[in-house]
C-alpha cells in the first residue's frame, strides 16, 4: 500500500489559536480540549470539487444584478490561488461576501444603523482559471461597529471561502485594505500571532489592474496548504 502524500501542518504562529481572549466570542466558541492530530487518509486528502458549472456569468461582479449601480468606490480585486509549493490551484471555487459601502450587510442579524443599498447584495462567486487567477468587481466595503468591546470597529474587509483540492485545504479568511487605521485595533485581524502572516491578509494597491477613470485595483493572493512531494514513510 502506497502511503499518501500529506498536506503540511502550518508553520509556527502563522495560523491563529482557537482561543484569543481579546476576541470575546472565542472564549466560549473554541474547543477546550487539545485537538487530536490525525495522519491524513483518503478522507482528508479528497474533498468536494466545484468547477465552473457552479458559477454563472456575472457572479464575480458584485456591482451588477441588483437593478442598478451600487453606491461606493468601485474596485477590482484580483489575485492568484496558489499552494505552499507555489503551484497555481486551477478551477478552485471562491465564495465572497461583504458589507456595502456604508458598512451594512444585507442580513437580518445586522442591526447597524447605516443604510442598505438596494443595488448591492454583497455576494459573489468565481472559479480560478488554469493559472490560478481570479477576479472580482465590487465596491469597497465600509467599516462598521460591533459589540466586542467599547467602541469596537471592524476594519474594511471582504470574506473569502475556498475549498482547494482536499478536505484538508478548506480555508475561510478575510481580505483587508492597505493603510486601514483600524487594523492595529481589530482583535480578529490580530488573532494571527505572526506579523508577516497578518500582513499577508492585507491586499496591495495594484496599478496593473487599476482601470483609468473607472476603478482602483487591489491584489490579493491566497495560499492553500501544500502537499509533500513524496509520500510519508
Amino acid at each position: 500500500m502506497t502511503r499518501l502524500a500529506q498536506y503540511r501542518r502550518p508553520y509556527w504562529d502563522t495560523q491563529p489559536e482557537y482561543r484569543f481572549d481579546p476576541y470575546a466570542s472565542t472564549q466560549k466558541r473554541s474547543p477546550g480540549q487539545p485537538l487530536i492530530a490525525l495522519p491524513q487518509s483518503l478522507s482528508e486528502v479528497t474533498g468536494p470539487t466545484f468547477g465552473a458549472e457552479f458559477v454563472r456569468e456575472g457572479d464575480n461582479d458584485l456591482t451588477v444584478g441588483n437593478g442598478g449601480e451600487p453606491i461606493g468606490e468601485r474596485i477590482l480585486v484580483t489575485g492568484r490561488v496558489l499552494d505552499e509549493n507555489g503551484r497555481p490551484v486551477p478551477n478552485a471555487l471562491i465564495e465572497v461576501w461583504q458589507a456595502n459601502a456604508a458598512g451594512r450587510y444585507v442580513h437580518k442579524r445586522d442591526q447597524h444603523d447605516a443604510p442598505l443599498d438596494p443595488h448591492f447584495s454583497g455576494e459573489g462567486r468565481t472559479v480560478t482559471d488554469a493559472s490560478g487567477r481570479y477576479q472580482f468587481k465590487t465596491i469597497k466595503p465600509g467599516a462598521y461597529p460591533w459589540r466586542n468591546h467599547h467602541n469596537a470597529w471592524r476594519p474594511q474587509h471582504i470574506h473569502f471561502s475556498l475549498f482547494g483540492n482536499a478536505y484538508a485545504t478548506r480555508l475561510v479568511t478575510q481580505m483587508y485594505f492597505p493603510g486601514d487605521p483600524l487594523l492595529p485595533f481589530d482583535p480578529i485581524f490580530n488573532c494571527v500571532p505572526d506579523e508577516k502572516a497578518r500582513d499577508r491578509l492585507v491586499a496591495s494597491l495594484d496599478w496593473e489592474t487599476t482601470q483609468p477613470e473607472y476603478a482602483l485595483g487591489y491584489h490579493f493572493d491566497i495560499v492553500l496548504r501544500g502537499r509533500d512531494a513524496t509520500p510519508m514513510e
Partner: protein, 189 residues
C-alpha cells in the same frame, strides 16, 4: 516556499456568501443512488448548553461503495451519477442541523487498513477563528469502530462523542458540543 494564508472567522453574516451552495439532501441529485438512506439530526451548542444559531455545518463522505468523488481516489469502485458527497447547511435558531444522505462505505486508512464508515464534518461560526473538523461514526458498526485507527487515537471516555445514536426510522442523532461537558472530539488534520 509560501505559507498558507491565515484563517479568519466566517463572522455572523456568513449566509450572504455561503448559502448558494447549501445542500441538505445529498440524495436529491442522484436518482440512481442505492444504499442505506439516513437522516442525520443534531444540534451545535456552546459550553453553557446554549444553541449556536449562526453557524454552518459541512459534511464530506464517500458513496455507499466507499468511493470518494475526487481525482485522488482512483480505486476501481463505482461512482454514482449526481452524488457529490458534499453537504452544507446553516444551523437553525435552536442550533439544529439536518442532513439526508446515505451511509458511506468503507475507505482505507493511511496504512491501507479499512476505516470504520464515517462522515467528515466541519463546523464554522462567528467566534471560531478557524473551523473545527470532526467525524461522525455509526452506532451499528461496533466491531469496525473498535478496530478503527482514528477512534483508537481518542481517549476511550471521549470516543462516544464521535458516534451517533440511533433515533429510529433511519434517523441518527449526533450533537456537537464546542467546549465543556461532553465536548466533541475535534481533529488536527
Amino acid at each position: 516556499m509560501l505559507y498558507a494564508t491565515a484563517s479568519q472567522t466566517v463572522g455572523p453574516y456568513l449566509h450572504i456568501g455561503l448559502n448558494g451552495l447549501n445542500c441538505a439532501d445529498l440524495t436529491a441529485s442522484a436518482p440512481e443512488l442505492a444504499g442505506q438512506r439516513i437522516v442525520i439530526e443534531g444540534r451545535v451548542t456552546d459550553p453553557d448548553g446554549e444553541p449556536v444559531p449562526d453557524g454552518m455545518v459541512e459534511i464530506w463522505q464517500a458513496n455507499p461503495a466507499g468511493r470518494y468523488r475526487h481525482p485522488d481516489d482512483a480505486r476501481e469502485l463505482p461512482l454514482v451519477p449526481g452524488f457529490t458527497g458534499f453537504g452544507r447547511v446553516p444551523t437553525e435558531a435552536d442550533g439544529s442541523f439536518r442532513f439526508v444522505t446515505v451511509k458511506p462505505g468503507t475507505v482505507p486508512g493511511p496504512d491501507g487498513r479499512p476505516q470504520a464508515p464515517h462522515i467528515m464534518v466541519s463546523v464554522f461560526m462567528r467566534g471560531l477563528v478557524k473551523h473545527v473538523a470532526t467525524r461522525m461514526y455509526f452506532p451499528d458498526e461496533a466491531a469496525a469502530n473498535a478496530a478503527d485507527a482514528v477512534l483508537a487515537l481518542v481517549p476511550a471516555e471521549r470516543r462516544g462523542t464521535l458516534i451517533a445514536s440511533d433515533a429510529g426510522n433511519g434517523t441518527l442523532r449526533w450533537d456537537v458540543a464546542l467546549q465543556g461537558q461532553g465536548e466533541t472530539v475535534f481533529f488536527d488534520i
